[in-house]
């Protein structure tokens, strides 16, 4: 079976800690030899998951975000978990993207989940005493990148 290595990071649910999550992701994904482009994609997706936790989970009260990086032979699964108020699918279901919309129809919110889905291979959301978003990216085999 595939070997699994886990790194866990816990940060306060505050905007100024999201870049720390990106730095950790960069280190782990580089070690796994992901391409620059894949690392950039994951940076955005993971930050969006953290932003959601920062903005919505604790309603202004103190809280924490746990980020678990689980690396396997061929993929990296990142779980961003908070222990706050779960936001339901309907709350989070906004404009999927701006394509084909007029300037008066476009909205400045709701792009986070869309970006996560567009940038990762898989996005799983679980609501159980908080929200856990698992983002998975497959690593191209070396013969494909060569």
């Amino acid at each position: 079976m595939a070997k699994e290595s886990i790194v866990t990071l816990t940060v306060p649910a505050l905007p100024e800690y999201v870049d720390l999550v990106r730095l950790t992701l960069y280190g782990i994904a580089s070690k796994m030899k992901f391409t620059f482009e894949d690392i950039e994609d994951m940076k955005v997706a993971v930050s969006e998951a953290c932003n959601n936790a920062v903005l919505h989970a604790y309603g202004g009260a103190e809280g924490k975000i746990e980020i678990q990086f689980a690396s396997y032979d061929e993929e990296l699964a990142i779980t961003v978990r908070d222990y706050g108020r779960s936001f339901t699918a309907s709350e989070n279901k906004e404009t999927p993207s701006l394509h084909g919309k007029s300037i008066n129809e476009i909205q400045s919110g709701g792009l986070g989940l869309y970006l996560m889905q567009a940038l990762m291979d898989r996005v799983d959301v679980q609501n159980d005493g908080g929200t856990a978003v698992t983002l998975t990216k497959k690593r191209m085999k070396s013969e494909e990148t060569a």
Binding site: D19, L23, V44, S97, I106
Partner: protein, 106 residues
């Protein structure tokens, strides 16, 4: 790799304002960016351009702010252009569909 600090610098000359946005444009700096742009958005007789050549990273908060600038300038019948968009950021603009609203992005 160290975190790329957000930088903001404005040049004004002859009816044109160019705002250079660099580093990481994310949730952490959203308030700073909004308050810096607010007075510039009101100057409808000036051309407003964002230069993104030193931008390293943008998230949906940053893209959301760009969208609100597009809408605010449009409502004032005023110009707004975004230029020198780095490739990996251009990819996010294309993905979300904002590119056609950033005039100079072609």
């Amino acid at each position: 790799m160290l975190t790329d600090k957000f930088t903001l610098r404005t040049e004004s000359k002859e009816g044109q304002m160019i705002v250079f946005v660099g580093g990481e444009f994310d949730l952490e700096v959203a308030t700073q960016m909004r308050s810096a742009m607010e007075p510039l958005i009101e100057l409808a007789d000036q051309r407003l351009t964002l230069n993104l050549q030193d931008l390293k990273y943008i998230d949906s908060t940053g893209i959301g702010i760009l969208i609100s600038i597009v809408k605010a300038r449009h409502a004032r019948n005023a110009s707004f252009d975004v230029e020198h968009i780095p490739t990996h950021i251009r990819k996010l603009f294309d993905m979300t569909g904002i590119t056609p609203y950033l005039a100079k992005a072609e």
